[in-house]
Symmetry: C2
Subunit: 273 residues, 2 copies
């Protein structure tokens, strides 16, 4: 096998499985090449990805040497992605009766969800979560892709517990916007006690859902190391949570004049300067 052929194989494996460590021994078996040769192959991929802003190839040296692919986004690339989503959001046909906004198509587009998951993973990798936790239903696609890019499991909290979950822990919480009492529950075996968790959701009004998730995590004696939401409704008054990161601010939904206004969160705008 020539270098260009080996690089095609190695690139595919690394990119398809972010954060997964492949040892030089794995590659050597698969490709029938010496480890020194494979180290050179990895250096080519690493430098090319770095030059093109395509993410980071982290190489581990020594006897147990190997490599893994870490998704990275430049500030400019992140801003461009978020601006593209804002443009989609500002489509006035999204406005529904009662000033609600239709968002289901975001979770439908696997390419978009994949880009969002990569954004979340790149942002929260530093806090080293062990689980991505979301609540059914609309946050699941983003949570799954975030988990994919971090190579950790995703846990879905249920609004209605299922018969096929075994023993579950349930908490009640108050929805911040409608002030209704709601329930969420999670199977005991779904999350080990003492885990480091990243809470993820697609949309946040006052933050009642995140508040409920935080309380549930306390019951699991687990630590919330990060909270991320794609879209935050800025108009929704007093927030019930702090220390969350939102990527998009939804400023205005005006059903009379058929106007939706959304903008990248200020931390993204500032960091891209």
């Amino acid at each position: 096998m020539r270098r260009s052929q080996r690089i095609a194989v190695i690139t595919k494996l690394l990119v398809e499985n972010p954060y997964k460590i492949y040892s030089l021994t794995d590659f050597a078996k698969m490709l029938g090449a010496a480890k020194s040769t494979l180290s050179e192959d990895l250096a080519v991929i690493r430098e090319t990805f770095a030059d093109m802003g395509l993410g980071k190839i982290e190489t581990i040296t020594g006897a147990a040497g190997g490599a893994r692919y870490l998704p990275k986004l430049s500030n400019a690339a992140l801003l461009a992605r978020v601006e593209k989503i804002c443009e989609k959001l500002e489509d006035p046909t999204r406005i529904l009766a009662g000033g609600f906004i239709y968002l289901n198509d975001f979770a439908s587009d696997p390419n978009l969800v994949s880009e969002i998951g990569e954004m979340f993973a790149a942002h929260f990798a530093a806090v080293e979560p062990e689980y991505v936790v979301t609540v059914e239903t609309s946050g699941i696609p983003i949570a799954l892709m975030t988990a994919h890019y971090l190579n950790i499991p995703m846990v879905v909290v249920r609004r209605v517990s299922q018969i096929s979950e075994g023993s579950v822990l349930t908490v009640n919480y108050v929805s911040g916007s409608s002030h209704r009492i709601q329930t969420m529950s999670l199977a005991r075996r779904a999350l080990p006690v003492g885990s480091r968790v990243l809470l993820v959701d697609d949309f946040m009004r006052a933050g009642g859902t995140l508040r409920g998730l935080m309380e549930l995590m306390t019951e699991f004696e687990s630590e919330v190391v990060g909270m991320g939401v794609l879209i935050e409704m800025e108009l929704a008054s007093p927030k019930l949570v702090q220390d969350y990161v939102s990527f998009i601010n939804l400023h205005q939904i005006d059903p009379v004049n058929q106007v939706v206004k959304a903008a990248p969160a200020s931390w993204i705008q500032n960091s891209a300067d």
Copy 2:
């Protein structure tokens, strides 16, 4: 840029976006190389992937020439994946009170879900679906990854319709195993009339859910071109649907002797011979 560097970039883009066509013009702009050179690069990737059983690179010749990556699995690779899942399924700690079985961890593991989505996509690509349709909650991860590998949108049917969906179509159906009347609904704007849809779910007992989805698709004047379930409960008597494809048969859940028995579907065992 050298050939090996261009191949690292091209492989990453193609593999990250299955079924998406990249034109030689796209690559030429990005990599500053002549189209004839890029055609040679693509040929190297295509032949290497074919030799290693890593999927198909389809090249489109002519002025609008380009390439795309199509996930493929050999029969032996499919059987190996399905056997690995069966082994996980046969873990007796999955057995819950009442003879139910815990399956949530399947949807939690992004690598496993990705492999399952690739299996579904490889199997159903030939019927050319335009949408992957599932019903909340547990089928969503598999449906999303199937949609990712086919580069088409995913549509999630709700059991309880949401205020933020606009006008919805609702059908009632009878659950095949519990004989209870249930409801499912889908926003009108979520699926265009006249679509070709692939129905996907993680688990099937008698098939009541698939039956309900079929009826809902009729209301949307859409054609069901395929139905796939990961795990079929073989014991569940008369099936309410035909023409579905299951990948795994769950033969036995014995809470007394703590035994679960699962096997690859016979069509997979036969084709791998």
